[in-house]
């Protein structure tokens, strides 16, 4: 999850990877043994609930609306997308 989030914040991720993040987070929440594990994806869920548009901006528009994330150049994103699988 950290890796996927990291890629999103750097503007390297695709929409597929966001779906991947959501499914992974659900799986971790539902199958973890202890409360810490079950709660660990909560930040992902809550940010997705309230700021999905910002996620999408990182992915689709290659910008960070809050101006926090340092985005990799677009070419890097394209190259990373090709190399991701």
């Amino acid at each position: 999850m950290y890796r996927l989030l990291d890629r999103i914040t750097r503007g390297l991720a695709s929409a597929d990877e966001l779906a991947e993040l959501e499914s992974l987070a659900a799986m971790v929440r539902d199958t973890s043994l202890c409360g810490l594990g079950q709660g660990s994806p909560n930040p992902v869920f809550s940010t997705l609930r309230y700021f999905r548009d910002e996620y999408m901006a990182h992915i689709d528009d290659h910008v960070c609306p809050a101006g926090v994330c340092k985005m990799e150049p677009r070419e890097a994103a394209v190259a990373a997308g090709e190399g991701a699988r």
Partner: protein, 235 residues
């Protein structure tokens, strides 16, 4: 001790008070995949493969450590459960370096079998490819951390059956490693009795007998008659 009735996969079944969902399901021929469970050892619910849906429960429950209850309605197989189980096995594969083609346990491996059963044909997640080591300091056995899934069967068999408690787990998350004694090389361990039970219970090729080549692991489980890995599976 009284008898409780419940339904698993829509079938009416019965079990003793204190029995687990896994026990009752298997007594009734209903398969639930497991990895860390080994009958005869205590259950720790660590691998999460046996999670099932219980009606009225929001959370998924591990069948190996969930006691049955009167009127319980249990779903063992659903699309969601299968997808989660597949993802769990995928995570196990991608966390370390599992290369079946050169593994001593090839074609004799519970992780490999699970991947086949669950239809894991490829990885969506990136491989972490850690630099894990092999400890071959023991005279007869070795441990390849690349192939360890941290099921802790070895830890439990060593503690509960052999009474040596040579094995334990150190570290957290992806850093977790099996250790012998206080993290010294296996060959230097004072507590290890070289009984080999840990090698026999290992579901993968992580623990192996030295001198065996690819696909030559032999689990002589009858050697441990009080342990049964999976009903219907002879290993």
């Amino acid at each position: 001790m009284s008898v409780l009735t419940l339904t698993i996969e829509g079938r009416d079944v019965a079990g003793q008070t204190g029995g687990t969902i896994l026990q009752v399901a298997r007594e009734n021929g209903i398969a639930i995949p497991t990895l860390c469970h080994l009958q005869g050892l205590s259950d720790v619910g660590a691998c999460r493969l046996c999670v099932v849906e219980v009606e009225g429960q929001r959370k998924l429950l591990p069948a190996c450590v969930t006691a049955i209850d009167e009127g319980m309605k249990v779903t063992v197989n659903s699309e969601r459960l299968t997808a989660y189980r597949r993802r769990i096995v995928e995570l196990l594969f991608t966390e370390r370096n599992h290369v079946c083609s050169v593994c001593v346990a090839d074609r004799n491996c519970e992780l490999q079998d699970l991947a086949v059963e669950l239809g894991l044909t490829h990885f969506d997640l990136p491989l972490l490819s850690p630099q894990a080591s092999v400890d071959a300091t023991h005279e007869r056995f070795g441990i390849d951390h690349n192939r360890c899934v941290l099921c802790t069967r070895c830890v439990r068999v060593c503690d509960e059956i052999e009474g040596a408690h040579t094995w334990d787990v150190m570290g957290r998350g992806t850093e977790a490693r099996l250790i012998t004694d206080m993290g010294i090389p296996w060959g230097d361990s004072n507590t290890c009795t070289s009984c080999g039970k840990c090698v026999q219970v290992c579901p993968t090729g992580a623990l192996f007998e030295k001198g065996r080549s690819v696909a030559e692991a032999r689990r002589r489980r009858p050697y441990l008659p009080y342990l049964v890995a999976h009903e219907g599976r002879t290993r």
